[in-house]
Amino acid sequence: MSGGSGAPGGSGAPGGSASGSQIAVHLNGAPTLLAADATVADVVGLSGFAPAARGVAVALDGDVVPRADWTTTTVREGARLEVLTAVAGG
């Protein structure tokens, strides 16, 4: 998911137009290129989750992005994204 093909120098920006404008972000700690118009919902999709994905939460620059805002929240250059999911614990 992260740190692979989406890394700088990789094969382009997933989730958006192949041409031109891309932004570099940190996705789960790994440098990743995204389309300049990518939304949080796009990033969730890139991470392999269905849009409704139960058990998934997103933090953008340390703040929780409510589910209802995923499709309208765009990601900016240099953003720190955390896409989290349920794991065994506690």
């Binding site: 058990g55 939460a57 933090a59 896409v83 989290l84 999911t85 794991v87 614990g89 506690g90």
Partner: protein
Amino acid sequence: MSDATKPAMGADGVVPPFVLGGRSWGSRLIAGTGGFRSLAELESALGATGAELVTVALRRLDPEQKGSLLDVIDRLGLFVLPNTAGCYTARDAVKTAKLAREAFQTDWIKLEVIGDDRTLFPDAVELLRAAEELVGDGFTVLPYTNDDPVLARRLEAVGCAAVMPLGSPIGSGMGIRNPVNIAIIVEQATVPVVLDAGIGTASDAAYAMELGCDAVLVASAISRAAHPTLMAQAVRAAVEAGVAARHAGRIPRKLHAVASTAELGLPDLS
């Protein structure tokens, strides 16, 4: 009545329903999902616990992860209790709780704010701060806390739905190191007391219930047992035995024997 003849605390002869967070639960065993060797083992053991509430954590997606924990939990029809494991500050714990609320669409949170990475003891100051903020934000807060009656009272005062004192360090299997403090916490609490952390085997769980805890939360004792499903059955039976014993009223401890057979009618065999 003297202390020696007073019925044991809690000896009302009836096991009451277990109410936590405004809901009635059929099982007093809350299961942790961490530490199992495989999802198949987890599914088998969770089923054997009879638990209705299970804890889960939030982490970055691991591309190597096989299968879905949530699918297992859904198949078993269990209620997800997210935790804030790994948080060391109130700020991180509050953010993690809010992420969990988005992820699982639940206001319930097992609040953990750790103060020390060797013992995994809670940080009392940060814990109380986080609890207060989360209660204010509408969460049903179940705090993992020290075996400290004063802190337990403070957590209850800020509106926590339960207090969950540790028996001994997480994963240590050391059982209940300060049963007297647990008894004091039980005695004063008006919210459920859940013994969280330290259970090593079935008898520890029974002891927690005999001390008057309303429930126990068990993870490693089951998941890291050589045979988790068998241990799950054992802990389940122990919890049921312990709560029944509590309400049955144990006999007082005495220094000397009290004959259980009458002396009247003893023959003269001289």
